[in-house]
């Protein structure tokens, strides 16, 4: 057999590598040589974005607005006026929920004035005692699903109360209760719109791609410029980030609804409205609920990042604790965030799946059982809080609101644990750390930085060409060119090096673990459950244990990257291997293959396309974590995005850097996706 005609891609790839290394060693560093580094031709882009944003915000379309303070009309820019209105409405909603949960005066101020409140001492909105909120959550859980959910709610609320995190938790909750529904409704609306109109669909797709690969940080600057700083700005950043997956999943679900179900709805005499809300959307609810789950997870993941632009709550405290290296406290806060996420997710799921009983002939008390019970809880909780005023001194009424950080804490225990680890394993940890940094990471970083730009282009575009023909190569080349023409090419290379390292290690671990676990049904289920659980942790949480062990170094970031990015690699491997039809296993066994042969020649090729999509996700996850790692000090694109946050004119820098990161992700996505699709087609899978 002629090997080259059978495996043309291998030959092509070998040739590509030869060209790449020739270029790599031929072209040395020289600033004037365009083959070494392209000139930063679009250096001015951030400035242009800044100017455009400023013009839009302060000058475009001036309108006359009546100002009640000075009792005169004055000119203001339209956009600013609109963003102000949005900010106001959001802030009011968040404050309103927050004051129901924690008490305060701001809602009253909105309807009166600060003077009124300071003159009348009684004008203060009382908080719901924490016992009432906890009781309400337990009742809701019981009503919607039963004992299990009630127990979970009880556990979560008592954990939060006992550890003295009630106040920040309620602050975070009030923020999530506004941001999550907005994201869900917005995502649902956009998804339905894209489903109805092809044109909207095609315009939305690339926007969603970019939005989902842009790092969290880079949204913050524009949001800050247009909406200012505060809880509302955090909510808006969260909405921007949490909506795209909701749109995606809504669209996916709607497209899967069988035409016969739609026809059945039409033949039942549904109006367009009924068809949409009673037939199509509920039928697609499985995917839409995954979307809701994603939204809730994103909201809580953003809780930390949103605190950069003034969102109060757990996120802010976690950030503080991380900066002060108070590992124990960070851990407790992280668990609070995770618990809130899980409870909200389960509640929303149970609510969407609840069933009605039509036949029971209920009395008034039975029908209003839960409302009455809640009333009872309310009265009992309020009484308890009142009794508490006799026992505890002012501000420390444990029956009313648990004072912040005055609960039990396990911080000392964790700190002792960290100290013990440091004392015991100091040398081995340090040795590992030093080895990794000097022998692996530094050389790898240097190799990436020593790559001439032409060589990079040849390698990446060549790979895209071999795997996906000219179209792919041109798209990928376009993404790369944008990055090469900014002044951050070197930074992008560092980001790429960290991501590559993470992806390689994650893929090896993920594919190995996935393969081993997919050998039988039980372990597959178990590992998928583990993946699910890990995915519910907001991404920030991963940084806590690694800082514990490795301190603030590149190693920490990379280990967090690896842990986080291994999840999709494992999940997709298991799913891919499990989806190989059992008949093929039987056919293989009857042909006399052993286990290993079966894996190599039957399972692996068939699962390959799905595994490729897993690697694709791994790349996206790794990029995210690398950028988040900027928090604990790296010198890649993420660090520059973080710097843009504190810059008054950072909007241009933030967005351009964000696009650079997004384009790295999209380039990889383009290559892997076309490859996976081509393999799928070749295997006749769909």
């Amino acid at each position: 057999m002629n090997y080259s005609s059978k495996q043309p891609k291998v030959i092509q790839f070998a040739f590509l590598l030869v060209v790449f290394f020739t270029l790599y060693f031929l072209i040395g560093p020289a600033d004037s040589n365009f083959f070494w580094r392209l000139p930063p031709l679009i250096k001015e882009l951030p400035l242009l974005i800044n100017n455009a944003a400023n013009y839009l915000m302060f000058e475009w379309m001036p309108i006359d607005v009546y100002d009640p303070e000075i009792e005169e009309y004055e000119q203001r820019a339209l956009v600013k006026q609109i963003t102000r209105a949005i900010s106001g409405a959001l802030l009011f909603s968040i404050e309103f929920i927050r004051e129901i949960l924690l008490g305060g005066v701001k809602t009253i101020v909105t309807f009166s004035s600060w003077d009124f409140v300071s003159e009348n001492k009684w004008a203060r909105w009382p908080a719901l005692p924490w016992t009432v909120v906890a009781g309400g959550a337990i009742l809701l859980g019981y009503k919607l699903q039963g004992k299990g959910l009630a127990f979970l709610a009880a556990f979560a609320t008592s954990y939060i109360a006992i550890f003295g995190q009630w106040e920040p938790s309620m602050e975070t909750l009030s923020f999530v209760l506004i941001a999550a529904p907005i994201s869900v409704i917005l995502g649902l609306a956009l998804g339905v719109w894209a489903f109805k109109s092809r044109r909207v669909d095609t315009t939305l797709q690339p926007l969603l791609n970019v939005a989902q690969t842009m790092p969290h940080y880079s949204y913050l600057v524009p949001v800050m410029v247009f909406f200012g700083v505060g809880d509302h700005a955090g909510a808006i950043a969260t909405v921007i980030f949490a909506t795209p997956p909701m749109v995606r999943l809504t669209l996916l679900g709607l497209k899967k609804v069988s035409p016969e179900v739609v026809e059945a709805g039409m033949m039942s005499g549904c109006s367009n409205y009924q068809l949409l809300f009673k037939v199509v959307i509920p039928t697609a609810r499985h995917d839409i609920l995954i979307g809701v789950n994603q939204v809730i997870m994103q909201c809580l993941a953003m809780a930390v990042i949103a605190s950069f632009i003034g969102a109060k709550g757990l996120g802010f405290n976690l950030l503080l604790a991380l900066n002060q290296l108070r590992i124990g406290q960070a851990l407790e806060l992280g668990i609070c965030i995770t618990l809130i996420a899980v409870v909200l997710d389960k509640l929303s799921l149970a609510w969407a799946n609840k069933q009605t009983d039509y036949f029971s002939d209920l009395s008034f008390f039975e029908r209003h059982k839960y409302s009455l019970l809640f009333l009872a809880v309310f009265v009992a909780g309020t009484l308890l809080a009142y009794i508490g005023t006799f026992f505890f001194k002012e501000g420390f009424n444990y029956f009313y609101i648990i004072p912040h950080n005055k609960g039990i804490t396990t911080e000392n225990f964790w700190q002792a644990g960290v100290d013990w680890i440091w004392d015991t394993f100091f040398f081995s940890l340090k040795a590992f750390n030093v080895f990794l940094i000097t022998k692996v990471l530094m050389p790898m970083k240097a190799a990436y930085l020593g790559m001439p730009v032409i060589a990079t282009f040849v390698l990446v575009m060549g790979t895209a060409f071999i795997l996906g023909r000219l179209r792919s190569a041109l798209i990928v080349g376009g993404f790369l060119l944008f990055i090469a023409l900014t002044e951050w090419w070197d930074r992008a290379l560092i980001t790429a090096y960290m991501a590559t390292f993470g992806v390689i290690v994650s893929s090896i671990i993920g594919i190995t673990v996935g393969t081993l676990c997919s050998q039988n049904k039980f372990s597959s289920k178990a590992i998928l459950l583990v993946c699910d659980t890990f995915q519910t942790f907001p991404s920030f949480i991963y940084l806590i244990p690694v800082i514990m062990l490795f301190g603030v170094t590149d190693t920490s970031v990379l280990i967090a990257v690896i842990v986080y990015a291994t999840i999709p690699a494992t999940r997709y491997t298991v799913e891919g291997l499990r989806s190989v039809p059992p008949e093929l296993h039987d056919a293989g066994s009857m042909s006399g293959v052993n286990r290993f042969q079966r894996w190599v020649s039957i399972e692996l090729p068939l699962a390959f396309p799905h595994m490729m999509l897993g690697i694709n996700q791994t790349v996206v996850f790794a990029l995210f974590m690398v950028i988040i790692g900027a928090m604990i000090g790296t010198d890649d694109l993420g660090q520059f995005i973080l710097k843009a946050l504190s810059d008054k004119n950072g909007i241009g820098n933030g967005l351009t850097l964000g696009l650079c990161v997004a384009f790295i992700g999209l380039a990889v996505d383009q290559i892997l996706r076309t490859w996976a699709n081509e393999r799928k087609k070749a295997l006749g899978l769909n």
Partner: protein
């Protein structure tokens, strides 16, 4: 007299199709206009159009069960969707009770579907998030019937299709046959006059299919709806139909009673279906009897004109003389000769042997 009444109702067709065309493709309308009613599937295909329904004209009378039979891709489901206006016909007109549904606006159409039409689907098309009861009550609820009344009515329907005790199950918890019972109950909940069934039993196992066909015949004998039934199964068509329309490539090849189709297939294509059919199991005495001849000697045996030949063949063949045939009122309407029965039983194989 009952026959007189039948003739009266026959004059008013419940469903009437008048040269209905359905052509898929971007410039279908233009192509159709330029072809001036002479549609050739091949030329259309070359122009990027696919012919779904090609000049269908027929009527369905009140209480009649018309089966449209055709293999996949023959356009039978497309025809049904044109009649229910789930998709718009490219040209031609469809009348329901004399009203042109092509001219209806969306509101009128919804009104029509809410009160006059019911439809059963091949893949059941139940709403996965609703229980059996809620699925059946759904057409009533979208109409605005109160929850209490709609649930009460739905409960009656549950009993009608013998699903009592499973009303709180979700579709995923039911077998295929049970799911289709729910589909049938849902389509009947608003008590429609017209009942569309789109391959309702095709997705079921043979034994269940037989059971559902019996159930369907039982329901129809109680309800007496005007029915348009789509199937790809010729045996099913023979078993159920008052009349059968056989479709191929969008064209109705033949529309007639099952007996006439078997005895006189109009085209070679129809003949292919009929030649393997055991006639004695399908034909009724009525289609092989001779007119009454007073001079002839008649045996004592009496058979009903609606009897299937197979069921009486043994008795008839044991007689020397012709057998008299009676109708449902006991009046003699014809005479049956053994030679005809023998012809039906062995005729086709005898022809083949020659």
């Amino acid at each position: 007299m009952p026959t007189q009444e039948a003739v009266c109702s026959k004059e008013q067709a419940v469903i009437k199709c008048d040269s209905v065309y359905k052509i898929f493709g971007d410039n279908a309308k233009k192509m159709l206009q330029s072809s001036q009613g002479n549609v050739d599937a091949k030329t259309f295909q070359d122009a990027g159009c696919i012919v779904g329904v090609n000049n269908a004209s027929f009527e369905v009378y009140e209480g009649e069960l018309l089966v449209v039979m055709g293999l996949s891709g023959s356009g039978k489901s497309t025809l049904l969707r044109c009649i229910s206006r789930l998709s718009d016909a490219t040209s031609g007109s469809v009348f329901i009770d004399g009203q042109d549904i092509m001219a209806m606006n969306n509101k009128q159409l919804i009104e029509l579907r809410r009160n006059k039409m019911g439809m059963v689907f091949q893949s059941f098309a139940l709403l996965p998030h609703k229980t059996v009861l809620e699925n059946i009550a759904f057409p009533l609820q979208v109409k605005g019937v109160s929850t209490q009344d709609s649930i009460k009515k739905a409960m009656e329907m549950v009993e009608l299709v013998s699903l009592g005790g499973r009303e709180n199950y979700f579709p995923r918890q039911l077998s295929g046959g049970q799911q289709q019972r729910v589909g049938i109950a849902r389509s009947l909940a608003v008590e429609p006059d017209i009942w569309f069934l789109d391959e309702p039993f095709s997705a079921l196992d043979p034994l269940i299919r037989k059971e559902m066909q019996d159930e369907f015949l039982r329901l129809q004998s109680v309800l007496n709806k005007t029915i348009l039934f789509i199937t790809h199964d010729f045996d099913e068509a023979l078993r159920l139909a008052d009349r059968i329309a056989i479709m191929k490539d969008g064209v109705i090849e033949q529309l007639d009673t099952p007996a006439n189709i078997i005895l006189n297939p109009a085209t070679d294509y129809v003949h292919k279906f009929t030649e393997e059919v055991p006639r004695e199991k399908v034909l009724r005495i009525e289609s092989v009897m001779d007119p009454v001849d007073k001079t002839e000697e008649i045996s004592d045996l009496v058979v009903s004109k609606d009897a299937i030949i197979e069921t009486v063949a043994e008795a008839v063949l044991s007689q020397q003389k012709a057998v008299s045939v009676i109708d449902e009122n006991g009046e003699v309407v014809g005479a049956l000769h053994c030679s005809h029965v023998i012809n039906v039983l062995f005729g086709s194989s005898a022809q083949k042997a020659n």
